[in-house]
């Protein structure tokens, strides 16, 4: 049903550390790999080897340059973006067929592809671009928080996290339960000031982003101490002699 649960027992989601992400796109590849081989229809590529390739992705990385207001060096921020599993998910309530739903037990927002008619209204309702219509299957695809991994007892315990988290080589992605104040993700959010994306839209995202730490300001002329070589010995004698000429 497209009515949102009043509250969910657990709030599973991701913390993405913008200070650490290096923009390698490994999570994008791991996500596409897992989700094209497992739950639901595959994530199709259209015209993959042609002139105008495009494809379905549940996770995409944008890279931004931020110019600090107070001056100083600009910061490059790599910005992975996938479904935020919002508490007040506008994509769920607009769904006319009941294909979209938010689970009361863990807060994961899912699409039942067998009921989806591919109208695309949920993608319009999402501010984050987290839903993409698969152009081959004609149904809406979105991040499942790897629901087929996290509860999968056939996998070794270390693999029971979303594929993007498991693969991230820099440790920029964390998975956990935000309803538990002592969980790893809750602690990270508290320590680092985890933030919501577009809070003005009232979607109450579960996923949080950790802001990049401020960079050090460079000294006025950072190379001066290196360039100011004090020569000694014969070279020093020649240096002083030539200086006087």
């Amino acid at each position: 049903m497209t009515e949102l649960p009043q509250s969910t027992t657990r709030k599973l989601g991701l913390v993405i550390d913008l200070d650490i992400c290096v923009g390698c796109h490994a999570c994008v590849t791991a996500c596409k790999g897992w989700n094209t081989e497992n739950y639901g229809s595959s994530l199709a590529d259209m015209d993959a080897y042609g002139e105008d390739p495009s494809g379905t992705f549940l996770n995409r990385i944008h890279s931004y340059e931020v110019q600090p207001t107070g001056g100083g060096c600009s910061q490059t921020v790599h910005f992975p973006k996938s479904c935020l599993h919002c508490e007040d998910a506008p994509c769920v309530t607009v769904c006319p067929t009941g294909a979209s739903y938010k689970r009361a037990e863990d807060g994961i927002v899912l699409v039942n592809e067998d009921a989806c008619m591919g109208c695309g209204l949920c993608a319009w309702a999402c501010p984050y671009g987290a839903r993409e219509m698969d152009r081959a299957a004609g149904v809406m695809k979105k991040c499942t928080l790897c629901v087929d991994r996290i509860y999968n007892e056939n996998l070794p315990e270390v693999d029971r996290v979303p594929a993007c988290v498991r693969t991230c080589p820099s440790g920029a992605r964390h998975f956990g339960d935000f309803a538990d104040p002592d969980s790893n993700v809750s602690k990270l959010v508290a320590d680092r000031g985890g933030m919501d994306l577009m809070p003005e839209l009232g979607t109450k995202p579960v996923n949080k982003y950790l802001p990049p730490r401020p960079k050090d300001r460079p000294a006025a002329a950072p190379l001066t101490p290196i360039a100011d070589v004090k020569a000694t010995g014969v070279a020093g004698f020649l240096d002083r002699l030539l200086e006087k000429l």
Binding site: W124, V139, P211
Partner: protein
């Protein structure tokens, strides 16, 4: 937003159809016999063709029947439910006028009201979206309702009412163009709120996620229409409201030629206005792509 032809046909034709059915249901036009057959057929025809057109843009139309199930939360579902209920409630009214030769006011009035509720539901599919600030305003339902009533009045052959509604439609279109232009700025969403990086400073896109395009960009970032927005706005107002009003001013009351000509002008303008309604609308996801 991408202006899909099927969605433009759906909103324009079903709006016109239900607008006309409202006039017929309310008993403002009471044809009987063969005349009733053609007149009701026209109302039902526009409404049904519009509704069918809406299924053409579906990726997986075999599940379209399920769209009637989520009326508790979804305006799209409500629109489908009200459309079907309206057509069912008005069916006996039409049949009585065609075969019985007299109107059935007890069902006609509820049917007329349901017709307008259906158009309102259509408009709310768009007006509810906070992600598209241009649509997310009360003038959106007003615009859809005014279009439906104007089309209905023209088809009913009410010259004075048509002219009045054309004047209202002009005012509504000018108003929605002007308020619409300010809505994105008013919404408060920027690249800085989208990325949460506003606390550091000004954000610009350094590198997009991919070199090609994608579903989101094709669907939500549609810039072609905005280049010609000014000209199209003039065309929309001239054809949807001003020309039909002039025709209705000159044509004798109830002249079929006058009605046909005014309707052709009105539909052309309505299609242009609806195309612009989509093409001009900016989705906030564009902010992530440094685009509008």
């Amino acid at each position: 937003m991408h202006p899909a032809p099927s969605v433009i046909a759906f909103t324009v034709l079903s709006g016109l159809g239900f607008g006309f059915l409202a006039f017929l249901g309310a008993g403002l036009v009471v044809p009987t016999g063969w005349a009733a057959f053609w007149v009701w057929g026209l109302g039902y025809g526009f409404a049904v063709v519009g509704l069918l057109a809406s299924t053409f843009h579906l990726g997986n139309p075999k599940n379209a029947i399920r769209a009637f199930s989520q009326w508790r939360t979804s305006w799209l579902s409500r629109e489908g439910v009200f459309a079907v209920v309206t057509l069912l409630v008005l069916a006996p009214v039409a049949l009585f006028e065609i075969f019985g030769g007299f109107p059935l006011a007890s069902l006609g009035w509820p049917g007329a009201l349901l017709s307008l509720v259906t158009v309102f539901c259509t408009s709310m599919i768009y007006a509810q979206l906070k992600t598209v600030p241009r649509w997310n305003q009360w003038l959106t339902p007003v615009m859809f309702m005014t279009f439906a009533l104007t089309g209905g009045a023209i088809l009913s052959g009410f010259n004075v009412l048509s002219i009045l509604l054309c004047v209202v439609l002009t005012a509504v279109l000018v108003a929605i163009f002007n308020t619409g232009d300010k809505r994105l700025a008013e919404s408060g969403s920027t690249m800085e709120t989208a990325t949460g990086l506003g606390k550091i400073g000004k954000v610009r896109l350094y590198e997009a996620p991919h070199t090609g395009t994608n579903y989101l960009m094709d669907e939500m970032i549609y810039v072609v229409g905005r280049r010609h927005a000014r000209k199209l706005r003039v065309i929309a107002v001239a054809f949807a409201a001003i020309l039909p009003a002039l025709v209705m001013l000159i044509a004798p009351e109830g002249s079929l030629l006058g009605i046909a000509l005014a309707l052709i002008f009105h539909l052309t303008g309505a299609a242009a206005a609806r195309w612009l309604f989509f093409a001009e609308a900016e989705h906030v996801v564009g902010l992530y792509y440094g685009a509008r």
